[in-house]
């Protein structure tokens, strides 16, 4: 590749985690700028103009959510949030405030790289512009609104289709209940998240081989849904 390398800012107060992230990301050919607190992170983000920000939610000087909000004031660059398990509400809060995805600690390098790739690709708009989207045996013709499973047509209701197309548009990225409600039912709708669950159930029954052990439409408990594609 002769383009400029991908640049990242890692905002994380724990030195070992920061170092291990920087080392592995640099090994993957990315350029990494480290920041040990929120203030420093905001400065780095503003001056380095990175392609992506990795942000730990538990920072010593300011709330991680606040960092997201400040970045979102001037940029929509992808933000990957790091958080501990069992902090579902915090994750949802971060996602609803503009973060793009999250990683639960402890995580592996491979997992982290995969997420980064998804976010960067989505940013470049490659997934959304495809005319036909395919995962497993499922083929979705986004222009003609046709869904096929193993060559056979699958009939979807309008809401089910909108749900599926929304997931495809954000393939690989987690979607919170609120985001799905807003995109599928429209901003004026105040349906509760159980409707999302119900339609998601229908969708699974129509698309997944074993709906109880889904391979593609995955549940992120307490947070939302993610469409898992090939990787």
């Amino acid at each position: 590749m002769n383009e400029a390398p991908i640049t990242l800012v890692v905002i994380e107060d724990e030195k070992p985690i920061r170092h291990f992230l920087a080392k592995s990301l640099e090994d993957a050919g990315m350029q990494v700028f480290e920041a040990e607190n929120g203030k420093r992170g905001l400065i780095e983000t503003a001056t380095r103009r990175p392609d992506l920000v990795i942000l730990d939610l538990g920072l010593p000087d300011m709330d991680g959510i606040e960092v997201i909000r400040r970045i979102r004031e001037w940029s929509n660059l992808p933000i990957l949030v790091l958080s501990a398990r069992s902090q579902e509400t915090e994750k949802v809060n971060a996602l609803d405030n503009g973060a793009d995805d999250y990683l639960t600690k402890p995580f592996g390098v491979a997992e982290c790289l995969a997420r980064i790739r998804v976010l960067l690709r989505r940013q470049s708009g490659s997934a959304a512009s495809q005319q036909v989207f395919q995962f497993g045996a499922i083929k979705v013709d986004l222009v003609n609104r046709l869904v096929e499973k193993a060559g056979e047509a699958v009939h979807l209701t309008p809401i089910e289709y909108r749900l599926l197309s929304t997931l495809i548009r954000h393939a690989g990225k987690v979607m919170t209940h609120r985001e799905l409600l807003r995109e599928v039912w429209g901003p004026s709708h105040s349906e509760s998240s159980q409707y999302v669950r119900m339609y998601m159930g229908h969708l699974r029954h129509k698309l997944e081989d074993t709906p109880a052990l889904p391979k593609y439409i995955l549940t992120e408990t307490g947070v939302g849904y993610r469409l898992k594609t090939g990787e």
Binding site: Q194, R197, G222
Partner: protein
């Protein structure tokens, strides 16, 4: 003989006194014969002397009465500002006790010890303020005139003709550390008076002039000198006893005075007090409540209570006894208390009746040879007063009952006459007399003494008039009948008296039985009470009924502050209750402290400490408690106190058990956690050092890295479990939402995918299952733990099946495997914390997973169980309650 041995009680008392004295402030009284001798001046002079010694002196109250010499002495002294107390919409200045306690000087000057405080102050009397100051360790200088001493009050009144209302209990004077006599010869005092140097209130100028006669002054001076001399004498004895100069230890004399309802009781008590003082004896004032005395109207009983209180102020111990026979009860008590002398009032009966019914003193003298009996004379005018009191109208209720009694007596006699008249042909006159006597008995039993006496007289008259020839006149032909009349009258009177008493005693007995029953009930209910709240409820309910007053039981919290009870009436002041609790003294209505308060506050004293305060709000604001009610209250308070103490110690014991249990658990946690964390840590340390070596091949490095990764993930799991358990134990708040079980199972299976790579996972969930209201994250945790467990305890290649079905109104979810199954007998214990199927096995984990599952499932209102199934393998099943899920809105 025990006379040569020190009395242990006396020794103990001495020790106690010394101990208390060490912390208490010292009281010095400047004592004088009358106003104008220069007490205040002497006190201020002494205060100045102390200031020169470097002592911190503050003036609490000093009355200069406009005398310039005294006022000049005040210069250079710090004067404490007075408090304004509102009384009847006027503001009156009064000594600020709380201010003084906060200021905490070394010495405070308090003029006129016998002063009565403005109504609304904490204590009605200044000497009570002084007591509190002393108790707080503040020294007090004060002044006192001899006429204010309680025991001399009546004598001074007799000498001078002026009754002094403000009095000081003798024991306060006796307990003073120092008494300095301020003496001035009468001639000099009179000269000062003429020179206008003695203060006199304007309105009482004439009376005061009468007071300052030379004769009066001489008598007062003598009283003051004598009283001081008595004190010095007592000190001399005490000194000798201390130094054992004369090792003679006499058993202390005890004197008992028996007070009755009569007006002369007050004098009796004062005489007894003086007698006790001159004999250096302890004295006890008792009131024996016989059935006859229980019939007294309320106001008389109140009088008796007041007299007992007076006795208390004069230094007596008081007691109310109850018994059928006065002399016997009195003597029994006297013997039990080692009383050597009994003081009684002189009987008021004259001539014949005295012959008929011996006086109390005579009865006592007859029955007790070993006790001296003193008889105190009455004043003539007091007797008059007593007689006039008797003539007072009885209250309305009694009057009504008496009227009915008289009517019944009249009717009864008439009826008997009619019946007898009809039967006269068959009857002898002697039998007629019998019939009349029967009527008298019945009437006396039914309507009491007065009706009985009335019917006795009516019967004799009717008998004479209707049956004794010549009939229908009161004239008597045969003089023999006069004798019949006399005997008939006497017999009828005696019978009626006896019958009435029988009836009364029966009523008293029923009454007493009721009270005993109530106490028994209270005791029994309290015995079964397990919590303080129950005791409070039981105590209040019973006391409400027993005393017919509103009763509040106030219990302190852990910081010794009384908690307000629910629905506390506004008249009950928590501040007073707290004071009572802190000082362990009764206060409020009918006591010496804050008597203006509408409620009475009594500390509940248990053997170990005060456990609470009873606040009694009488339904009738003016009535104080009757002696038997007071006894009843005390008994109840003791029972409640014991119950509270019992519950307290039960709680203490329970806490100890819980503490032991948690200690045991903590030890077990520590040992398991340290074992299970240390093992992987050790291998991690080893593996990383291995990685540092250069000799390793790339393949070996990858392998080691794989092991490190695996071990750390395991540890991370363990830490998660520990944290989850801690979180669940501190009370988890469920974040319930309507969920598809299928989805939860799916995400659980997804989360365990990597761990269960070697196993086959099957799901058997019918698609028509309704939504359930659960905390998805927690239920997922249950499933993850169960799946991991199954993976851990079954060999690779085993099948794990997750299934769900509706079973008796619950959603039952089970995770089954076809592994070796559970060890025998572990079915329920397996869900306990830190329990593992196989002890110290190489299978990792600390036995928290299943305990977490149980906590979560139970928090959802479900149950979890484990069993083995055929042919082999374990099944874990948990249930979740089915709600009514919200109706699904279908797409139009």
């Amino acid at each position: 003989m025990t006379d040569h041995r020190p009395d242990p009680d006396a020794l103990l008392e001495e020790l106690k006194r010394e101990e208390e004295a060490a912390q208490r402030g010292r009281l010095k009284i400047f004592f004088g014969a009358c106003a104008g001798v220069g007490k205040t001046y002497a006190m201020l002079a002494a205060a100045h002397a102390r200031i020169r010694e470097g002592c911190e002196v503050v003036v609490g109250v000093v009355e200069t009465h406009g005398r310039s010499e005294t006022a000049a002495q005040l210069i250079g002294l710090e004067v404490l500002p007075l408090k304004q107390i509102e009384y009847k919409s006027r503001k009156l200045p009064e000594f600020d006790l709380d201010g003084a306690l906060t200021r905490q000087p070394a010495l405070i000057l308090m003029d006129e010890l016998a002063h009565s405080n403005v109504e609304g102050s904490r204590h009605p009397k200044r000497w009570q303020d002084v007591e509190e100051l002393l108790a707080a360790g503040i020294d007090v200088y004060t002044t006192l005139n001899v006429q204010h001493l309680e025991s001399l009050n009546d004598i001074v009144g007799q000498i001078t003709g002026i009754v002094v209302r403000e009095t000081l209990p003798d024991n306060v004077f006796d307990a003073a550390d120092d008494v300095t006599l301020v003496d001035l010869p009468p001639d000099e005092l009179l000269a000062r008076l003429r020179a206008g140097k003695v203060y006199m209130p304007h309105q009482a100028e004439r009376a005061a002039k009468n007071f300052f006669r030379k004769g009066n002054l001489l008598a007062l001076r003598e009283l003051a000198l004598r009283r001081t001399a008595d004190r010095v004498d007592a000190q001399m004895r005490a000194y000798r006893a201390d130094q054992a100069i004369q090792p003679v230890w006499q058993a202390r004399e005890r004197l008992l005075v028996c007070v009755g309802p009569g007006a002369s009781a007050e004098k009796l008590v004062r005489s007894a007090s003086r007698l006790a003082a001159s004999l250096h004896a302890d004295w006890i004032a008792v009131y024996v409540e016989t059935p006859a005395l229980q019939r007294l109207p309320g106001e008389k009983r109140d009088r008796i209570l007041k007299i007992l209180k007076l006795a208390q102020e004069l230094g007596a111990e008081t007691s109310v006894l109850s018994g059928a026979q006065l002399p016997a009860t009195l003597l029994a008590y006297a013997r039990s208390r080692n009383v050597s002398k009994i003081v009684v009032g002189k009987s008021l009966r004259s001539g014949l009746s005295r012959f008929w019914k011996p006086a109390l003193s005579e009865k006592l003298a007859q029955q007790a040879e070993d006790v001296d009996v003193f008889v105190v004379a009455h004043d003539f005018f007091e007797r008059e007063e007593d007689v006039s009191r008797k003539k007072q109208l009885p209250d309305e209720e009694t009057a009504r009952r008496q009227r009915i009694g008289f009517l019944a007596a009249l009717g009864g006699c008439a009826l008997t006459t009619l019946i007898t008249a009809g039967l006269l042909n068959y009857f002898d006159l002697a039998n007629v007399v019998m019939l009349y006597l029967l009527t008298v008995v019945l009437l006396a039993i039914r309507y009491g003494r007065e009706a009985g006496i009335f019917s006795s007289i009516m019967s004799v008259l009717a008998f004479d008039f209707f049956f004794v020839p010549p009939r229908f006149t009161f004239a008597v032909a045969d003089t023999q009948y006069l004798f019949t009349f006399a005997v008939m009258l006497v017999v009828a009177l005696i019978i009626s008296q006896l019958a009435a008493r029988l009836r009364f005693e029966a009523t008293v007995a029923t009454h007493r039985e009721q009270r005993t029953r109530a106490l028994y009930d209270l005791g029994q209910e309290l015995a079964s009470a397990l919590t303080v709240q129950q005791i409070v409820e039981i105590g209040m309910r019973h006391l409400d009924a027993l005393l017919q007053s509103q009763v509040m039981l106030l219990i302190p919290d852990s910081s010794e502050q009384l908690r307000p009870a629910s629905e506390m009436p506004p008249q009950i002041d928590l501040g007073i209750a707290q004071w009572v609790f802190d000082h362990q003294q009764a206060a409020g209505h009918g006591t010496n402290t804050l008597p203006a308060s509408p409620a009475l506050y009594i500390p509940i004293k248990a053997p170990m400490r005060t456990r609470g305060v009873l606040a009694i709000l009488p339904s009738d604001k003016h009535s104080s408690l009757l002696p038997e009610q007071q006894r009843l209250l005390e008994t109840c308070a003791v029972q409640i106190a014991l119950a509270l103490e019992r519950v307290h110690y039960v709680e203490v014991a329970q806490d100890a058990v819980v503490a032991m249990e948690s200690e045991r658990l903590r030890n077990s946690v520590l040992s398991t956690v340290s074992h299970d964390l240390r093992t992987p840590l050790t291998s991690l340390v080893g593996l990383t050092t291995l990685l540092e070596k250069d000799t390793l091949t790339q393949h070996e490095r990858t392998e080691i890295a794989g092991i490190i990764r695996h071990e750390t993930l395991r540890m991370s799991n363990m830490v998660t479990n520990l944290l989850d358990m801690a979180k669940l134990q501190s009370g988890v708040k469920l974040n319930k939402e309507w969920q598809l079980l299928e989805e939860v199972i799916g995400s659980a299976a997804n989360a365990t995918e990597r761990n269960l790579a070697g196993h086959e996972v099957r799901v058997n969930v019918p698609p028509e299952l309704p939504m359930v209201e659960i905390d998805a994250a927690l239920i997922e945790r249950v499933l993850v733990n169960l799946l991991e467990n199954a993976g851990k305890y079954t060999p690779a290649g085993s099948t794990i099946t997750i299934s769900a079905r509706i079973e008796s109104g619950m959603l039952a979810v089970s995770v089954a495997d076809n592994g070796p199954g559970l060890p025998a007998g572990m079915d329920s214990r397996i869900f306990d914390k830190f329990t593992r199927g196989v002890k110290e096995s190489t299978t990792p984990g600390i036995g928290l997973g299943l305990a977490i599952c149980r906590s979560i499932v139970e928090a959802h209102g479900g149950r979890i169980s484990a069993r083995n199934h055929e042919p082999h393998g374990a099944v874990f099943t948990f249930t979740l309650p089915l709600g009514s899920p919200p109706a699904a809105k279908l797409e139009s």
